[in-house]
């Protein structure tokens, strides 16, 4: 019971912790090999490059680009090539390895799920709830209602094709 309380308290602090992290000078690491450019444009001069796992300091964000500082130089890189945050190299490797083997989060981890866990066991044991599903269905909106909501936020659709899988697949 006491343990539960601690988990609760710890969980409530999590958002604050992350807010704190984003205020601190931001560091990051490369998710893949990529080029560093003099300006935030695809055709800008390449001034350097980095390898997966290299540490960078994040200086600025502009559109789809981040200005980063590596050991050797400073320049612009596409933001999806950078993992933000300062997790240790060991930690990160473990994460990637676990993901690669498809075993992340298995084993004892599941059982440590805190309050109101929504793990495999809980899902398996779940019973159909007619009242709740009816409530959910009661919230269904029409396409027109969606449009009105978008208009209220001044959201405007733009032409953009669905992103396709890269040639040769990911990785």
């Amino acid at each position: 019971m006491k343990k539960l309380k601690y988990i609760l308290i710890a969980a409530s602090f999590l958002p604050m912790l992350y807010a704190g992290l984003s205020i601190a000078a931001e560091t990051g690491s490369a998710l893949k090999k990529d080029s560093i450019r003099a300006e935030p444009f695809a055709d800008a001069r390449v001034t350097g490059n980095f390898n997966r796992g290299d540490k960078v300091e994040i200086l600025k964000k502009q559109g789809a680009w981040l200005q980063v500082k590596t050991k050797k130089n400073t320049g612009w890189v596409r933001l999806l090539s950078i993992k933000r945050g300062s997790s240790s190299a060991a930690n990160q490797t473990a994460g990637i390895l676990a993901a690669a083997s498809g075993r992340a989060g298995t084993g004892q981890v599941v059982s440590t799920t805190g309050i109101r866990g929504l793990g495999e066991e809980e899902l398996k044991a779940a019973k159909f709830n007619e009242t709740e599903i009816k409530t959910l269905e009661g919230y269904t909106l029409s396409a027109e209602q969606g449009r009105q909501f978008a208009a209220a936020g001044n959201l405007k659709t733009i032409a953009f094709s669905n992103l396709k899988a890269p040639k040769g697949g990911s990785k």
Partner: protein, 325 residues
């Protein structure tokens, strides 16, 4: 007569147990192909036995089916087996109605595990954003519905036919509407591409083989629950990695078309990537999805320079609904 039914029922039980144990041990894909043939044989054998006392009527006569089949039967040669095993639910090519009823069953079970957050304004807000994103998808006409469920885990779920929920824990991690749009877009992508439905269809092939779906189970609801297993366990199952990457690409595409800041989903993946994998709140998410780092990298490969010229997308953090607790 009665005795023979009993025997065949026992046999069914035995086969189901066999399938269950195989499923538990092996990954779905590999199991599907290894034992499918064997199961077919078993079913055929069973059907033949059933027919034995009767006169074997040639399959030329029109099949009398209680439920009118929507698809015209093309081959009458395999009619006896096919008709016997054919459920009222058209698993081969489910109608949109059937897809929705299946999703309802799954979503209802999921809500049995974690109910909706009792905050009508929150639910309405999420439905507004979700509905607008869904309108940018390739299936705008589904009756899309969205909900925030009362769980501190970080996760989101999609069920066939347009039922989508995310946890309060995940919602709490979001800072603006563009991020919510990205998350909902990912789930909408799963529904549009029928990822869960296809997984269930594959599963159903196994069940058919095991004789789960003889006429004794032909009542719709029972049938559906047989297909989805106990409770909401289908929601705990992993899709292919490629399906997750595809949903990420679609989520970004829909949110971008809807006028949102295009990197909302990427922001959320960045946040989730910071959570230690030993944190119980991400246990199921990390088990059923590639690691957020992998997803970001894959998304980056697909995006390349395609988002370089997307500007003026909105984040709308000012109207982003904040949780009351």
């Amino acid at each position: 007569m009665r005795l023979s039914t009993k025997i065949s029922m026992n046999k069914n039980l035995f086969i189901s147990a066999l399938v269950a144990s195989q499923l538990a041990g092996l990954s779905l894909q590999s199991a599907a192909f290894d034992i499918k043939g064997a199961l077919k044989d078993a079913v055929k054998e069973q059907m033949d036995q059933k027919k034995d006392p009767k006169t074997d009527t040639p399959p030329v006569t029109a099949p009398e089916n209680k439920t009118p089949s929507t698809t015209p039967t093309t081959s009458t040669a395999t009619a006896p087996v096919a008709e016997e095993a054919k459920p009222a639910f058209n698993w081969k090519n489910p109608s949109q109605e059937e897809e929705i009823s299946l999703g309802r069953e799954i979503a209802g079970n999921l809500l049995g595990a974690a109910p909706l957050v009792k905050d009508e304004a929150l639910q309405k807000y999420v439905n507004s954003v979700g509905r607008w994103i869904a309108s940018q998808s390739d299936r705008p006409d589904l009756p899309w519905r969205f909900g925030v469920i009362d769980s501190e885990d970080f996760n989101a779920f999609a069920a066939p036919g347009g039922y989508i929920v995310l946890t309060k824990g995940l919602y709490r991690k979001l800072n603006n509407e563009a991020q919510l749009a990205g998350v909902l877009g990912h789930e909408i992508g799963h529904v549009v591409k029928k990822h869960q439905l296809k997984l269930l269809q594959k599963q159903q092939l196994l069940n058919l083989g095991a004789g789960f779906l003889s006429d004794r189970f032909a009542k719709d609801n029972k049938l559906v629950s047989k297909a989805i297993g106990s409770g909401a366990e289908i929601s705990a199952r992993s899709l292919d990695k490629s399906a997750e990457y595809e949903a990420d690409r679609l989520g970004v595409s829909y949110a971008t078309r809807a006028g949102y800041e295009t990197f909302g989903l990427a922001d959320v993946l960045q946040t989730l990537g910071q959570v230690s994998k030993n944190d119980g709140t991400v246990a199921l998410l990390f088990k059923t999805h590639p690691h957020p780092d992998e997803r970001l990298a894959a998304l980056g490969d697909a995006v390349g320079g395609k988002l370089d010229n997307i500007k003026n997308g909105k984040t709308l953090e000012k109207r982003f609904y904040l949780l009351k607790n």
